[in-house]
């Protein structure tokens, strides 16, 4: 019998061909992306890197249009790093802000996701409100609300603030309040300032944690209720359940969100480095701005690599199969 099966060669080939067929079908599905990536995206990236080694001059339309490139070597990079007085400073400040913002957004969105995942009255309404920033506070609207002087004036009269204002009057809490509160606790001044700045930037944080909230919520939904049930039977408290069950189960999501938040906040228009580069693009020269953004991109890529490496050491994967 076994011999028969072994001799049954055509059948085996048939299976292989089905797999091949499926592989070919897979290529058909991803074809639009592959074509676009090869013919449009790669040339764009290649051009963008190439431009940074050239000086670019536009040819007026009556001479036929187009542009002329003259090679200058590493001059643009040299200009960005050593000639421009503000770039390095802005870069350092931007990266510092990035490192401060990412944990804040992660903690906030995880906290809110856990809260919105509980059963309570009006949960649907709260969810709907919390997702509004995802849909609305991008692009044009972000630009408008950045210049919204009116809201600041409206706030300051009542003393109620949402933290968007920069004037001292509109800050909810000041470092002083906290110092009084924690005078006897040795928490350190840096931590104190961190918490205070987080509270005063709450508007910004809420606006930027919409997608992360969605991803966390989806992750929480995918944890099987049976696990919670068995832990409850064993007598675990809510606190223990969170740290021993929810946190490990959600840890892959934390990795995803950490990377996404980093990407999102360094590509956001409100990012100071991006604003600076935009200004350079409009005023000094397009090529210089390209060189600057590549420097910035490489730095952030390095940060993402570090974050991914550090987080993935702690991530817990539940293998279903």
């Amino acid at each position: 019998m076994t011999k028969d099966v072994k001799l049954n060669a055509p059948k085996r080939r048939k299976i292989a061909s089905l797999e091949k067929k499926k592989a070919r079908a897979g290529w058909i599905f991803v074809l639009p992306f592959v074509i676009g990536f090869a013919l449009i995206y790669l040339p764009i990236i290649f051009d963008s890197i190439k431009f940074t080694f050239y000086e670019m001059t536009n040819v007026p339309n009556y001479k036929g249009g187009g542009y002329i490139l003259t090679p200058v070597g590493l001059e643009n990079y040299y200009d960005a790093l050593f000639v421009d007085p503000d770039f390095v400073q802005t870069l350092v400040a931007g990266l510092e802000k990035l490192i401060f913002d990412v944990p804040m957004i992660l903690i906030f969105s995880l906290f809110m996701a856990v809260m919105l995942n509980q059963k309570m009255a009006g949960r649907a309404a709260f969810r709907a409100i919390f997702f509004i920033p995802v849909i609305i506070s991008t692009g044009l609207m972000a630009d408008i609300s950045e210049q919204n002087m009116l809201m600041q004036t409206m706030d300051s009269a009542e003393g109620i603030s949402d933290g968007t204002g920069s004037s001292a009057a509109s800050e909810i809490v000041t470092a002083m309040d906290f110092q009084k509160l924690f005078a006897n606790m040795a928490v350190g001044e840096e931590l104190l300032n961190y918490v205070v700045s987080a509270i005063n930037n709450i508007y910004d944080i809420v606006n930027r944690s919409g997608v992360q909230l969605l991803i966390f919520l989806a992750g929480l939904q995918s944890i099987s209720p049976a696990i919670y049930e068995s832990v409850k039977v064993d007598g675990a408290t809510g606190w223990e359940t969170f740290w021993k069950i929810t946190f490990p189960m959600i840890s892959p999501m934390i990795l995803v969100n950490a990377v996404y938040t980093t990407i999102d906040s360094f590509t956001a228009n409100s990012n100071i480095v991006m604003t600076f580069i935009d200004n350079v693009y409009n005023k000094q020269g397009r090529v210089l701005s390209s060189a600057m953004s590549w420097i910035y991109f490489l730095l952030v890529l390095a940060i993402i690599a570090v974050i991914a490496a550090v987080f993935s050491a702690f991530v817990f994967y539940q293998r279903k199969d």
């Binding site: 991803v30 676009g36 990236i45 949402d162």
Partner: protein
């Protein structure tokens, strides 16, 4: 024995076919209330409940307050901005700002153009991204992980980095130098031009094709980027949809294959219908991010002959220009009103679709592996 048992048994007060009402000693109401409300368990529950409610209401307030203030400001007359007693409630109620934006800034034209652009782009993106994501999720082929890595790369590189080259790409649009070749420009091979002078098109077309086709100030850059899954945040959509499709059991497709259905036929007839909530989620994202986008529209649509879009609505209407002490605030209110009118259609759409948004995300079973 029997008699004793009968004594202990509760007395039947009333008995009907379906119900029995019996008499038994119930703990008094006072005791019951005490046990319920004076326990530590109850107190912690109330505290947590209040804490949670305060927090959620507070954050909701933070999200919604800008809208309140914008709406309030949009209804105020210019005098209200220098009146110290007016804060959130307008004294001289007026709809002038809305009227001026409606009539002077060609709101309807911008609305129609943006609707066309966003709907086209979002439909294409939703469809193309689910197509790509399905291929990545369900088929094992060589290079699957490389393609996925490229998707993530396209999400990671900030579009500002590519600003200049995106612009030149679509200003002088040419794929592999085909347009240059057919108009006699030859082919660039590592810096040297070969095969020069072969004309496939009449010379009168040169101003269109010699330097590539100019696609700026048209909808084509958006359509091309959408078809190839490279538009704004498409990497995120592909990622989300891929996770969703991975959760769809293989048996569904296998049974379809056994019944003789082809791969693409199966995708359209089996997979797409069950992924409607997820597709609506992606559509909602794509539509609203395209609607309020100002990076791509300002990059590609800057010329005088460009179609009017929502970004052009943010302006001070000429009939409202006014030199007076409250000018800054007034102009700020006008800009806010422009913003409100831009997002009004989105809010209406969101109210209808938000149910699907949460559903789609919940069912996606997003996992990181």
């Amino acid at each position: 024995m029997n008699a004793q048992n009968l004594d202990n048994m509760p007395k039947v007060k009333k008995e009907s076919k379906n119900k029995i009402r019996v008499e038994f000693d119930r703990t008094p109401l006072k005791e019951r209330l005490k046990a319920k409300f004076l326990s530590m368990f109850f107190v912690t529950k109330v505290i947590i409940y209040i804490f949670r409610l305060v927090l959620l209401v507070g954050v909701s307030y933070i999200v919604l307050f800008p809208f309140f203030s914008q709406i309030a400001g949009s209804l105020m007359a210019p005098e209200d901005f220098i009146d110290a007693t007016v804060r959130l409630i307008p004294k001289n109620f007026t709809l002038d700002i809305y009227k001026a934006i409606w009539t002077e800034l060609e709101y309807i034209t911008s609305f129609a153009n943006t609707l066309f652009l966003s709907a086209t782009a979002a439909l294409l993106q939703t469809f193309v991204c689910s197509f790509i994501a399905y291929g990545l999720a369900k088929f094992k082929f060589k290079g699957n992980s490389i393609v996925f890595l490229c998707v993530i790369l396209s999400l990671t590189v900030p579009h500002q980095t590519l600003q200049l080259s995106l612009f030149t790409k679509f200003k002088y649009f040419d794929i592999l130098g085909i347009f240059q070749f057919v108009s006699g420009g030859g082919i660039d091979l590592f810096g040297t031009t070969v095969l020069e002078g072969i004309r496939l098109l009449p010379a009168s077309w040169d101003k269109f094709t010699a330097n590539g086709i100019e696609l700026t100030n048209t909808y084509w850059p958006f359509i091309i980027l959408s078809i190839t899954g490279l538009a704004f945040k498409n990497g995120l959509y592909i990622f989300m949809l891929r996770q969703f499709f991975r959760g769809v059991p293989d048996e569904l497709e296998e049974s379809a294959y056994i019944d003789g259905s082809g791969v693409i036929h199966t995708f359209f007839k089996i997979i797409l219908p069950i992924s409607v909530p997820m597709m609506i989620t992606v559509f909602l994202f794509a539509f609203s991010w395209q609607w309020t986008d100002n990076f791509y529209t300002e990059l590609f649509m800057t010329g005088k002959d460009a179609p009017r879009l929502m970004k052009d609505v943010i302006e001070i209407p000429s009939s409202l220009t006014k030199e007076y002490p409250g000018q800054n605030l007034y102009y700020s209110a006008i800009r806010n009103t422009c913003g409100l009118m831009i997002i009004a259609p989105l809010v209406v759409m969101y109210l209808f679709c938000q149910k699907y948004l949460v559903q789609g995300i919940e069912r996606s079973g997003l996992t990181a592996d």
